[in-house]
């Protein structure tokens, strides 16, 4: 009987179930999108029940598509959008309001306020993250402060907290009937509540954010989830969980110190494996756990770009200049360059390496010559330059330039963007044969835990090159363009200073 590994990728816009065979080949994919709620400017919410129902549909669908039974699935790995979390009633399983998504900036003022509190330097040291709206803890604090009666219920232990991995595992393993309340180190490392050295919830951090410990799940290594599904399709072992970017690092087999992967979807996420060494960035990057297989974790440096693919979606939905996201490339190719136009998409502030939550986006360099083709170029180039800024910071922290960038995610289908990345980084950009590295990473971790794959070396042999883009841009032109981009970014700082926070 042929056996397979299954991954559930609970992403920002959709949830997917993917089945892989032993050669890491994709056998089936089922996917469902979920709604995004924007009840107020800057608020981004999702319905955790809708996401759970989607899982309920796509898992059997993927099995049908692959033509296999549940007994043929040796392990299931869960990977998920990070920082997004939901609170729910332990006794009924009903969520308290909607899940608050990582893109939500409702806690801007709260973050400013918390930033003035005593002990803020200590917070960064312990969790490795700068205080920002992006991470779970400020939003969790916001809910505890703003939902009537919630704090009392939470302190009584009637409410559970979970990032999306925790929510799905709890539901899959029985929900109110004995569901496992667990998370893995990589997801926990994004809450601002976990101590990076002990890899446990930190009493000082819980105190700082005013979070009652009783609501939190147990933190486990990425490959020690040890649950069994009792719902959806009963009897499948859930052996691993990882945050999506950590899963991508794993799926790209970035096992050596200094190797970097970039995932290009809604946002752009670059992670560099720093080995067993916990590196504190001097250049605006975050310290996080890459993954933990067994006792020792692999640490990582991360630079996140808030807006990458979502800028293309904005171009499609809000400006209506294209009908589908991939058409951005077609439009961009109607012109030969950006015509002097730059777009800095600081929609919810700027992330790495600037971390300026008050910054707002801008389009500069407009002349009567600029047409929609130039704007399309500027949209794609924004992702390229933001990557350059992050990779520069990583190189500086590591003290050595990275030789290649391994890429994955939906935007790797954009040929023009991938070439531009190679051009502005001046290193080759490589895409592996399985573009679905997030799901693959979760499948790898799950399969490794179940003994389906023997070791990391076995996984590395599965990595094959599908495409490679070599740098071809003139060096002087590259530096001139980079200087223009930096000036454009500086202008967003000036704009942030000139507007009172609203």
């Amino acid at each position: 009987m042929q056996r397979f590994v299954m991954a559930i990728d609970q992403g920002t816009t959709s949830t997917r179930c993917i089945v892989f065979d032993q050669n890491a080949r994709l056998v089936a994919v089922a996917q469902r999108e979920h709604r995004q709620y924007h009840p107020r400017p800057g608020w981004v919410e999702q319905d955790a029940v809708e996401i759970w129902r989607n899982v309920d549909r796509i898992v059997p669908q993927a099995l049908r598509q692959a033509g296999i039974s549940a007994e043929q699935v040796v392990a299931m790995g869960i990977t998920n959008q990070r920082e997004t979390f939901v609170l729910w009633d332990r006794h009924t399983g009903v969520p308290v309001g909607r899940a608050i998504v990582w893109e939500d900036i409702r806690t801007e003022d709260l973050v400013t306020e918390l930033g003035r509190k005593q002990g803020i330097e200590e917070v960064r040291d312990r969790c490795g993250l700068p205080l920002a709206t992006y991470f779970s803890a400020p939003s969790l604090r916001w809910m505890l402060d703003n939902v009537a009666g919630l704090r009392a219920k939470a302190e009584r232990g009637d409410v559970l907290f979970g990032t999306m991995d925790t929510w799905l595992i709890w539901n899959l393993t029985g929900g109110v009937n004995g569901g496992l309340h667990v998370t893995d180190v990589t997801n926990a490392s994004r809450t601002m509540l976990m101590n990076l050295s002990t890899r446990q919830w930190d009493p000082m951090l819980l105190e700082f954010f005013g979070v009652p410990p009783v609501i939190l799940p147990e933190i486990r290594p990425s490959t020690e989830i040890s649950g069994v599904t009792t719902r959806v399709v009963p009897g499948i072992s859930i052996t691993a969980a990882l945050g999506d970017q950590h899963a991508a690092l794993f799926g790209q087999t970035c096992f050596e110190k200094g190797s970097i992967k970039g995932t290009y979807g809604t946002g752009g996420f670059l992670l560099m494996n720093t080995g067993t060494e916990l590196v504190r960035s001097k250049h605006g990057l975050l310290t996080t756990i890459g993954y933990q297989i067994g006792g020792e974790p692999a640490y990582a440096l991360e630079g996140s770009i808030a807006v990458a693919g979502s800028l293309v979606q904005w171009f499609r939905d809000n400006l209506g200049l294209i009908h589908s996201a991939p058409e951005i490339e077609t439009l961009a190719r109607t012109v030969k360059d950006n015509g002097g136009c730059y777009i800095v998409p600081a929609f919810s502030g700027l992330f790495a390496p600037h971390w300026l939550s008050q910054a707002r986006g801008l389009v500069v360099g407009l002349t009567s010559y600029i047409n929609k083709g130039h704007l399309a170029r500027a949209v794609l180039e924004a992702t390229g330059w933001q990557t350059r800024e992050v990779v520069d910071a990583m190189n500086a922290d590591l003290g050595a330039p990275t030789p290649v960038l391994k890429v994955d995610g939906g935007m790797t289908a954009d040929h023009l963007l991938m070439q531009f990345l190679a051009d502005v980084l001046d290193i080759p950009v490589m895409r592996p044969l399985v573009a679905e590295t997030v799901s693959l990473g979760a499948a790898y971790a799950a399969g490794l835990a179940a003994g389906y794959w023997p070791d990391l070396e076995g996984l590395r042999r599965n990595w094959h090159l599908a495409a490679r883009w070599n740098p071809a841009m003139d060096a002087q032109h590259r530096e001139d363009e980079y200087a223009n981009w930096k000036r454009a970014v500086e202008l967003t700082f000036a704009w942030a200073r000139s507007t009172p926070s609203t």
């Binding site: 050669n23 080949r25 994709l26 994919v29 009908h323 589908s324 996201a325 991939p326 058409e327 951005i328 490339e329 077609t330 939906g410 790797t412 289908a413 954009d414 040929h415 044969l433 399985v434 573009a435 679905e436 094959h464 090159l465 599908a466 495409a467 490679r468 883009w469």
Partner: protein, 241 residues
């Protein structure tokens, strides 16, 4: 029915449409379903009323954006490369040639060059034969032009080409051995948009002795993999639209 939907409010319920056109409700419903499938009509998910679909706006221009096709097919092209062990290309017709819109390396980690944007001859490649076979205007134009000889085996006679294209239509895939480059062969199958129109082709290429059996015929396993990949891409174009 389309004229009715193009008039006035542009939103009509099933009964309204059937009554206005003097059709039985079942008949009207059947026609609407067909029009919906090819996206000439869409149904409002809230009210259940029908209106003109987005596909009508693009009628007569380009059928599917090349970059969109790459984006939709990337997973299936990867899977085909992994299964067959060969390099994969997706081609669309452009200006009397095959425009390579997507390319996946042969998964043996050897040094290869990305060929996206390259132009290949229609008459000498499997991708090109597929595009010719399902486009009467294109094949008529090809017959009138001189068929350039690239190797000893390139088809250079219009009559011969026509016979081969008929065969392609009959079997649902195209093959070629050493007609484009000595020692090389390729196999390809059609990608269709909803409604059945062929807008591109997906195929593998590689060493002739790997792709073909001792009699010089494309290996059945590989043909099956290519046809399956083409069907998967075709299905994904229906799904996500």
């Amino acid at each position: 029915m389309l004229r009715l939907l193009a008039r006035g409010s542009g939103h009509h319920g099933l009964t309204e449409i059937a009554d206005s056109l003097g059709l039985a409700r079942g008949t009207a419903h059947g026609i609407l379903r067909t029009l919906q499938r090819v996206e000439f009509v869409e149904q409002d998910p809230g009210t259940g009323r029908y209106r003109l679909g987005a596909a009508l706006l693009h009628l007569g221009t380009s059928y599917l954006d090349a970059n969109e096709l790459r984006s939709r097919s990337i997973n299936w092209a990867d899977t085909l490369a992994a299964r067959s062990g060969q390099e994969v290309r997706i081609g669309m017709h452009h200006d009397g040639a095959v425009l390579v819109v997507h390319h996946v390396f042969r998964p043996d980690d050897s040094v290869q060059t990305l060929g996206i944007g390259a132009m290949l001859p229609l008459h000498a490649t499997a991708l090109g034969k597929v595009l010719l076979a399902y486009d009467p205007d294109l094949s008529a134009a090809a017959r009138k032009r001189e068929l350039t000889s690239l190797t000893r085996r390139t088809i250079t006679r219009a009559q011969m080409l026509e016979r081969v294209l008929t065969e392609v239509r009959g079997q649902g895939w195209a093959g070629e051995a050493e007609e484009y480059m000595p020692g090389e062969a390729s196999i390809a199958a059609p990608i269709r948009i909803p409604g059945g129109l062929v807008i591109g082709a997906i195929g593998i290429s590689g060493a002739a002795d790997r792709l073909c059996d001792s009699a010089g015929r494309p290996r059945a396993t590989l043909v099956r993999q290519v046809v399956q990949a083409a069907e998967s891409v075709t299905t994904s174009l229906v799904d996500e639209n």
